[in-house]
Subunit: 343 residues, 2 copies
């Protein structure tokens, strides 16, 4: 957690961190959207204009080609291992910038300033960096930790509602991996909740993820619990990329969690009453489960990298905070649960 | 050193290592040249044909594009984090394959079977992986260690003389970082030396490098000594890439060492008599120092990534085994030493 700073004064904190760094050693990466909204917010910090790198927004630009563009600028402007790349944006930017930093001269310094709720509670904690490749999410990447992550709620005020709830799905996931009390508290948040209450939930959520990651940085054991909701969720997200209005990551995870919770009800005795409350919460916030051809859904999951072998494994819950990773489920079990949602 | 296996029976050793791995989890990477000479040598091992990846030989193919081709095959054939990439070839293949493995699904297993002397004593020891980018050597890469490295002298018998001596330059470098006795022993090797004597020298050389790397895996301190000869050497190698007959890496390092040794004579009191012996050895083995415009040489060094700041630093020697890293040298000092060689 000492690498993660919660603050209401991100610009001042950043300025003080950069005070002793030569200007020519600072590089800033924005996506085009965040640049438009937030560049002037950072004007107190005297970045060299040519050291500001703006990458087109959108998941499709989280690519090797975008990383190569960043490397070209860094290389041309004489960046060194001791230079600092400052990633300002959502998860797409923190993942892409982190990957670019991980590989530039075999690893340069970087920090993250996540500007979406999703990136604050998920992408920017845990050292996972990566880009999409050949249509597969995060197929190419590395474990490489930022020197510092600044979390400031100021960025959330320009966040569209749909993006806010997308991020909130990961908070719900962390709560489900923690305690029943956390789950109930998480379901209480709505648009009338105070900023302080929200910040408190964010802080607890980040701490939970950070504790898990610290105990297992390279995903050999406990960290796999964070994949809860993601086997089904990633598959849905990949499939939805073809749609006119693709799912956001958190939305896909929300549906993925619901799918895996119902599997947990069937296989691990997760309490049906709590499941029903969660189902109502998710359908209310995210809309009904999308309709996907079962065979396509099944095949997409088979390609998921989290599986050790050619079978589909899930993280399932007995109750909040009690999980089992690598639970093998048969094709029949998966199809039965899927038919519950599609009926 | 336990990750490095010296053997005269590499195929048997490999077969026994792979005995319990499902065939579909093995992937083999060759360069086209090594594939032509050595593929049949490995026929005892029943690789899946579609899992053999052949990359065009040559430094210019140590690129992001080649890595992307490897990732495409791995991805299409369902490789997982637990799959094993077996890199068989020179440093170009161990660097490229290591980088591809480092980034595939955030890190898959890999082993190295270096087939050149240079790769055996240098590239495949130390976890440095990488590709060239925008004309800069190893600009993009990562520290990522192979699970195992097999060193077998059998591969050296098809190695052209020029490549042999290129690799030998790194052995000389390791000797210079060790003791005067090692330096004299290294200068005694010639084409009449026995295979056992050569293997003994290779083993000592690998052990020396491995000890240094283990003491400082991420190049924060002692490991920098291994850059001896490389500040000047890399610059010459980059410049020579434009020539009709470019320098081999080890040749450039040999000239680079000579340059830095003469700087050491001037600034650190390295013994002139020993220097003269080394000069004779290097000019005899590698030919006279190439003629390069001093300004071009100087500017190329300025771009070298090993420098912490916008100045040129070297690893210099007081005597064999006694080095000083990050020694700043003025432009005047550098130019004076260069003029000695170009006069």
């Amino acid at each position: 957690m000492d690498r993660i700073l919660f603050t209401n004064r991100v610009v001042d904190e950043l300025a003080s961190m950069l005070a002793h760094l030569p200007k020519e050693d600072m590089f800033v990466l924005f996506d085009s959207n965040t640049y438009a909204y937030w560049y002037s917010f950072f004007e107190k910090i005297d970045f060299i204009k040519e050291h500001v790198i703006v990458c087109e927004e959108g998941e499709k630009n989280k690519s090797i080609e975008s990383a190569a563009k960043i490397w070209s600028v860094l290389s041309r402007k004489g960046a060194r291992r001791n230079s600092l790349l400052i990633n300002i944006g959502g998860g797409m930017i923190t993942d892409l910038g982190g990957f670019a930093a991980a590989c530039f001269k075999r690893g340069m310094r970087y920090i993250n300033i996540p500007t979406t709720l999703l990136a604050q509670v998920d992408a920017s904690v845990g050292g996972k960096t990566g880009v999409n490749f050949d249509g597969l999410k995060n197929e190419i990447g590395h474990f490489y930790f930022p020197e510092k992550t600044f979390i400031d709620p100021v960025f959330l005020k320009t966040l569209p509602e749909r993006q806010f709830w997308s991020g909130y799905a990961e908070i719900l996931k962390h709560a489900l991996l923690s305690t029943a009390d956390d789950v109930y508290a998480t379901m209480e948040i709505n648009s009338l909740s105070s900023k302080d209450k929200l910040m408190d939930i964010i802080r607890r959520s980040v701490k939970l993820k950070s504790d898990i990651v610290t105990s297992d940085p390279f995903e050999k054991g406990a960290r796999k619990s964070l994949n809860f909701g993601h086997t089904a969720g990633h598959a849905m997200e990949s499939i939805a990329q073809e749609w006119k209005c693709p799912l956001y990551h958190g939305e896909a995870v929300a549906y993925g969690m619901l799918f895996e919770l119902y599997l947990s009800v069937q296989k691990k005795g997760f309490e049906l009453t709590l499941y029903k409350l969660l189902e109502e919460f998710i359908f209310t916030r995210y809309g009904p489960m999308p309709r996907v051809e079962p065979e396509i859904f099944y095949r997409q999951m088979l390609h998921d990298k989290k599986n050790g072998k050619a079978e589909i494994n899930f993280t399932l819950l007995r109750r909040p905070g009690e999980y089992e990773t690598d639970v093998y489920c048969t094709r029949k079990e998966i199809m039965e649960v899927w038919s519950y949602f599609q009926s």
